[in-house]
Symmetry: none
Subunit: 152 residues, 2 copies
């Protein structure tokens, strides 16, 4: 449920100017997601959304596009800073990153999990991992996600 809700939230904020978490809560409710402001606040944190200045004076929620890169570049660090989302289909794991960072993430993952990964390809902002089975793919997603959130 959380997963679907997160996706729906992204959709909502891309379609409308949402000023408050209360408003977002109501919209979610209207679409059948029974949540409270507290949960929305947590979701916003997890999705990395931000309250930003809107066109005409007010505020609205939006995705925070690009974090500044700082600190030293250890593997996990690169990973947690560059990754936007992680998903799988069949035996493929797809990792979306901020623009230009896919290469770095792929290299990092190659080093970290070379045994699970059959192969990897990186474009500009997407990494594709080929693993052996559908199960491995799902497992990999959940492992990567844990890693990802632990680091935030």
């Amino acid at each position: 449920m959380k997963r679907t809700r997160h996706q729906h939230m992204m959709k909502l904020i891309s379609e409308k100017d949402i000023k408050t978490q209360e408003q977002l809560t109501e919209l979610l409710r209207a679409d059948g997601f029974a949540v409270t402001q507290a949960t929305v606040s947590r979701d916003i944190k997890e999705l990395g959304l931000v309250k930003t200045t809107a066109q005409f004076g007010g505020y609205k929620y939006a995705v925070q596009s690009m974090p500044e890169i700082e600190d030293t570049s250890e593997q996990l660090n690169i990973f947690s800073k560059a990754v936007v989302s992680i998903d799988s289909a069949l035996n493929q794991v797809v990792i979306k990153t901020y623009a230009g960072m896919a290469q770095a993430v792929a290299a990092s993952l190659d080093r970290m999990m070379s045994n699970e990964i059959v192969g990897s390809i990186a474009g500009d902002d997407t990494v594709l991992l080929i693993v052996r089975t559908e199960e491995t793919a799902m497992l990999t997603v959940s492992r990567l996600k844990k890693m990802f959130y632990k680091r935030r």
Copy 2:
């Protein structure tokens, strides 16, 4: 005074992880800017700063980088001009484009169909889309083809 303060605020948030406006107020005070939280709140709005998720679970203020501009008709246009062919295999959709245009097409498709697409990777003249199922892949091909022909 305001101008200088704004500059100093930018400097502060780039150097430190500032969690609250109260904290920023104190830092400004320590550097000789006599302000209150109210003013800081207004400054933040004017500077377009956002409270975003930090590395280790907390929040911090940061600059909100430019949001991408979405123009669906423009997207369609890029698409129809660049694409050469569309085909699928299993859960993968392969789109061939004229040389050097794959990146633009991929970006365009990402925005247009983010729900269907698990991930996309673009080389120079080929885009690979990963979707969830074989059915989705075929459906996507037919939708893209329709779109493609409508525009020519």
